[in-house]
């Protein structure tokens, strides 16, 4: 395309741990002893597996309650969405939007973007390669912010422990939600962005 050589054409591989330029036949990086791979092993299959696992966990994460509150005798359970709505109704729009972005929008964007990247790479599409690379780096960057809700529930549940007056306890939903975050992080890590550019090269 623009004449910049690929590392594979010069028979070298990048070590992802220490950035060393390793010879193509190396199994381990000569400098830091990590395993080196020309491409991450079974990248597409592994990414699909983590992505689908994340999608499955996303259902109970949204359906099951994440928090159980008793306040002066009255008990209530909150799911992620009902928590957002509660904030919005009480007037704190900013916090409602923040939690909505971290807990709903970010995971959904990750599912969509990773799914799109996987499908386009499998079809060896040469469409918008530069933009797709940027998208990958974007979801790598935003991925872990979804842990926000897990940490908020942890803090609030640890604080509000007044027997008889008011207590807050975490519920099963938060486990699934945390697992969604972990699974999508694994999915993003196992995806190899170099596959996007492999479509340019004849034999892969």
């Amino acid at each position: 395309m623009n004449g910049i050589p690929y590392a594979r054409e010069h028979k070298v591989i990048l070590c992802h741990v220490c950035s060393y330029v390793c010879p193509e036949d190396a199994h381990d990086c000569p400098r830091c002893d990590s395993r080196v791979h020309r491409r991450k092993p079974n990248s597409l299959t592994r990414t699909w597996a983590f992505l689908i696992a994340g999608l499955i966990f996303y259902i109970p994460a949204n359906v099951l309650p994440v928090m159980f509150t008793t306040l002066l005798g009255s008990a209530s359970e909150n799911t992620i969405m009902s928590g957002v709505i509660e904030f919005a109704e009480s007037g704190s729009w900013d916090i409602a939007i923040l939690i909505f972005i971290a807990s709903v929008l970010v995971p959904c964007i990750k599912f969509l973007v990773l799914g799109m990247l996987l499908i386009t790479c499998q079809r060896r599409s040469q469409w918008a390669m530069r933009e797709r690379s940027r998208l990958y780096r974007f979801i790598e960057l935003i991925g872990y912010w979804s842990m926000l809700d897990v940490l908020v529930v942890a803090l609030v549940a640890a604080l509000v422990q007044f027997r008889g007056l008011s207590t807050i306890e975490p519920r099963l939903g938060i486990l699934f939600f945390g697992l969604v975050v972990v699974m999508t992080m694994f999915a993003a890590m196992s995806f190899d962005p170099r596959l996007i550019w492999d479509a340019e090269v004849e034999d892969a």
Partner: protein, 210 residues
């Protein structure tokens, strides 16, 4: 530019883009400069902003802030004469109930264990690099640092503390604790020292490939 070195004979003269596998001849960068990949626009390399001494000093500061952030409560609340406060460990413990204990492990890794290990390992490699030595277990330390990076979530934790404060402020009296201020400073320090910049030690200490 003419160059007679090849990537195989002079590996440290070359850079490969980790996002698209493009191969470039390395250029020395000044403080504040960055090199971008022409093919995929990812960052290839950055000029070093800090010296080894400065990074070492910041890692010691981070160690002290970490102790403060963990010893002192991050939030305290009061309601009808009752009083309660929470530390980082206390919030991880609150998740460790019955079926959901697994998520307590993830949270503990993200806000306590990963940052603690990062600070300790950085201190270990930097204190030796300061004397121009390669620390014992250098390779293991550097590899562990690379694998820990994505799991250290202090920024998220800080935002979580702020959200929790606002969430509870509607129904009780909430006071930010000393741990919160320490946490805020710790987050800044970790962002400064725990990035990929530490990879420079491989070159600067002249770790020889086998």
């Amino acid at each position: 530019m003419t160059c007679h070195s090849t990537p195989q004979t002079d590996p440290d003269q070359w850079i490969i883009c980790e996002h698209c596998d493009s191969l470039y001849h390395a250029q020395p960068l000044n403080k504040g400069e960055s090199a971008y990949c022409l093919r995929c626009a990812a960052i290839l390399d950055r000029g070093h902003r800090m010296s080894i001494e400065q990074m070492l000093a910041l890692s010691i500061a981070a160690g002290i802030m970490f102790i403060f952030a963990n010893v002192f409560p991050v939030i305290s609340i009061s309601m009808k004469g009752l009083h309660n406060e929470v530390t980082l460990w206390g919030s991880v413990e609150a998740l460790a109930q019955g079926q959901i204990t697994l998520i307590a492990l993830v949270a503990g890794l993200a806000i306590i264990l990963a940052p603690a290990l990062q600070i300790a390992l950085l201190f270990w490699v930097l204190v030796h690099a300061h004397r121009n030595e390669i620390a014992p277990g250098f390779k293991t330390c550097m590899r562990t640092l690379e694998h820990l990076r994505p799991w250290s979530m202090l920024e998220v934790c800080l935002l979580g503390i702020l959200v929790a404060i606002i969430k509870l402020a509607g129904m009780l009296d909430v006071h930010p604790g000393v741990g919160l201020w320490a946490m805020a400073m710790l987050m800044v320090l970790i962002v400064l020292i725990a990035g990929k910049d530490i990879r420079r030690l491989w070159d600067e200490l002249g770790v020889e490939p086998e």
